[in-house]
Amino acid sequence: MKLFSAQNITYSINENKLFHKLSFEINSAEGLHIKGGNGSGKSTLLRIILGITSPSKGSIESFNQDLKIAYLGHKNAIKNYLTPIQNLELLFNDVELNLAFKWLHKFGLSHVQDELTANLSFGQQKKLALIRVLAKSSELIVLDEPFVGLDQVATDQLNNFLIEKLSEGVGLVFTSHIKPMIECKVLHLGRNNA
């Protein structure tokens, strides 16, 4: 099932073109891996897919307006003056909270769950932020560099989770420097827009 299709999208900042005339499709049960060097516009492309940023030219067509999207960008969207538990309580309703706590346990964050998030390490904060995506039921998952800062165990956990979600029919779009263990289409940025 088609979720999104992009036609000839171009994005420019201060009249400098970041990418030029990209076209692609996003389907459910299918992964899309966006590759590209620094500053090639990977994050911006994700934000265009999400509808946060609008492309300078071209159009994004969404086939389901009420699509449930789970997203984690390079900003963690967690409050560092709250504890991990408080953060999760802000994000989830009572039903989802159980699953969220399970992930907290799986990621080995249980022993710091009542510390201030500001005192957690970068990797721990990243894991906490990932729970936002992992514990929400969604039809499309959008991730910006999800593997950065994760140890091997967590990387495997995340990979397994994503593979499982793909088999359940969830769409997936992500950017990553590392080659993931997930079978997916690849979109290269920064090759044809020099």
């Binding site: 999400l50 946060i52 997203y71 960008g73 900003k75 963690n76 969207a77 409050k79 802000l90 936002r132």
Partner: protein
């Protein structure tokens, strides 16, 4: 909406600096004023109001500083956009929470100090009502200034929203006069209430558009 009000008040009440700070600043400014003049020579009750008005202006600015900055910097705004598709409800609940948790206590302090300085006790309720209403107006305006400047510091926010707040100050001055001379108070309160309601409905629209521009 209820979810937003809940989470905003939870966040604000966990940031001691953000809600206790403005209250303390209000008290300190109100203390500083009598110290700066020779109180034996002046009737404080004649112009103590003016310092209440100015410190209200200052404090409500300090209070709204960083209203959207944190959510913008840590990416919460983007996440909220994915849920609601705009920021109207978020802004509305933020302003509501800020007025309740900071605006009304500040108004209370102001009213308290006004009758500590020789204003008749009978007008305490009037002054309190008046200051609360003007805080509703000021918080709306300063929220706009802070949304414009977002992470560029308070200075820019003041510069862009303080001119908008001047009519409110004049209205406030007029209302205080009417308390002192006992005429036309209810007309002004109704006028301010009307402006406050209209502003609370429209300002979040504008602020929402401003925030959308920022995350774009």
């Amino acid at each position: 909406m209820l979810r937003l009000i809940k989470s905003e008040s939870f966040k604000l009440s966990n940031k001691l600096k953000a809600w206790l700070g403005p209250l303390l600043i209000m008290v300190l400014v109100l203390i500083a004023f009598p110290l700066s003049i020779d109180i034996s020579q002046y009737d404080l009750d004649k112009f103590y109001f003016s310092i209440i008005v100015v410190s209200l202006l200052m404090t409500s600015f300090v209070a709204t500083e960083g209203m959207f900055e944190e959510d913008f910097e840590d990416g919460s705004l983007e996440q909220e956009f994915l849920i609601e598709k705009d920021f109207y409800k978020l802004v509305l609940s933020k302003i509501f929470v800020y007025v309740c948790l900071i605006g009304i206590p500040i108004a209370f302090i102001g009213a308290l100090f006004s009758f500590a300085n020789g204003v008749a006790i009978g007008s305490f309720a009037k002054v309190f009502l008046l200051l609360s209403l003007s805080n509703l107006l000021l918080f709306n305006l300063f929220a706009f200034g802070n949304a414009l400047s977002i992470n560029k510091g308070a200075m820019l926010g003041v510069l862009s929203s303080l001119p908008l707040a001047l009519p409110v100050i004049i209205l406030l001055g007029r209302a205080i006069r009417s308390i002192q001379y006992g005429d036309g108070f209810s007309t002004i309160i109704i006028l301010m209430l009307g402006i406050g309601l209209v502003m609370s409905a429209i300002m979040p629209l504008i602020i929402s558009a401003t925030l959308k521009t920022h995350i774009d």
